[in-house]
Symmetry: C2
Subunit: 270 residues, 2 copies
């Protein structure tokens, strides 16, 4: 069985640089094993899996991965055999539609085995855009922006449960998703909200699993509801404005770190 | 001298209902003195002061104000005589461009006298949109959304200093302005950020000056930087991503109250 040199979960906010420095994708290849990286691309979120599979194959090969293969799962039947994972050190979930991705691979032996191997440090997993959205147990399926926060602003679904305590949002500041993530977190106050900008990654390394590292050109916004003293979430109708008191919000940029169990960002040395 | 029955500063996020229930404008008339209200409309933020002046004149008359007059200040010379205020219980600042409004009336005897009378409880002042933006000492002059927060996202100017400790933003959730207000507050961490949605008012009543009341159909977002432990604001360039740790954020809806000196939202009785 092939295993990554630095197992991690790498959650990318979409829109990562694919042409120039490719910092975020380079980072993924490095975690996956660098020149020993053996990468499975799962393009099932996309309706053009062949095209997007080819794009990432070329990039990962250019970045020096040893072996790259597209697992073009277009049917749940194709996700029944988890032993396909044996030949990979890592899995990359592309963008597209997170609901489509979960419909195709959610609750399959393949998805269970991905989660299991990630949790045991035997697989590096990255997801971008829709592939990032599925990382939590509670998943933002869709939503809107540009309105006062209210319940109907966001539709939730069930993700792959890789990072069960976290609700991810992606293209975060780029698509003005603060209100929808706050709305999602108001409904799930036992979770932590993490909003990831484009060309930016939140890295959950297996070796130091309490720390999230931020890398890339944008920001990662953390919405912590642990100290919330009041919300009307439970008794308002779908379009009525949401109230919520005492959210703690952190914005981190490249190099920033957040301690998941202490629930504090680490202060950089200046 | 005419004085309001319930002196207050009423900060409206723009886009207030002018046709149906007109709750927010009705509230202003009530604070201004109801059937004894004597209202000066200052339309100077707008490039169409005559049109906008007429719209609000009609509304305030329909809502029962005793007397309504447009102070069509188009030149700083027109803002030199503050005794014009003697015949009014209240002033209403319309929308338009906050920089234009401050260029015309900022630092004039009229503006000083408005501030002085408001601070003594002898004048009710409302502003909507641009008219809201000018309430603080530090004023958001312009800005953008849809990008990771960074210094160049927001341009600051000097407002009328009615509520000197507060940085106001308006059309707040409607125009996705969370990142720009956070950016403004990162530069002025001794202030409190208050973002007001359309058709929504934050009311600073003279009689109970420590409490902000929220009324209207949207939300008011409070960004409190008092506990911020770190920001890179001081040493990043204009386009580099902003980091800021430990912001406290509250979202209030109609009926919500916030205690300005204790810096806590009051929990509604459920």
């Amino acid at each position: 069985m092939t295993e990554p040199s630095k197992p991690a979960v790498i959650v990318i906010g979409g829109g990562e640089d694919k042409i120039n420095e490719r910092k975020v994708l380079r980072l993924f290849v490095s975690y996956a094993g660098a020149s020993s990286a053996r990468i499975a691309i799962i393009p099932s979120a996309s309706r053009e899996p062949h095209i997007i599979g080819k794009i990432y194959t070329d990039i990962f090969q250019e970045l020096g991965a040893e072996y790259v293969e597209v697992l073009d799962i277009r049917d749940r039947d194709h996700a029944q055999d988890p032993t396909v994972l044996d030949r990979f050190s890592s899995v990359f979930l592309t963008g597209g539609d997170q609901v489509r991705l979960c419909n195709l691979i959610g609750d399959t032996p393949l998805a269970y085995q991905i989660r299991d191997r990630v949790h045991k440090g035997r697989l590096t997993l990255a997801g971008t855009s829709a592939g990032a959205a599925v990382m939590g147990h509670h998943m933002i399926a869709s939503g809107i922006s540009g309105e006062p926060p209210h319940k109907e602003m966001v539709s939730m679904g069930i993700g792959l449960g890789i990072l069960p305590g976290i609700v991810i949002d992606q293209h975060f500041q780029n698509r003005n998703r603060m209100a929808r993530l706050i709305t999602a977190i108001a409904a799930h106050p036992d979770r932590l909200g993490i909003g990831i900008d484009e060309d930016t990654a939140a890295i959950f390394a297996y070796e130091n699993s309490e720390i999230v590292d931020v890398q890339g050109s944008g920001t990662v916004t953390i919405i912590d509801p642990q100290e919330v003293t009041y919300t009307n979430q439970h008794f308002i109708s779908g379009t009525a404005p949401l109230a919520i008191h005492n959210l703690r919000v952190h914005i981190l940029c490249s190099g920033g770190k957040y301690h998941l169990t202490k629930r504090i960002p680490l202060t950089p040395r200046i």
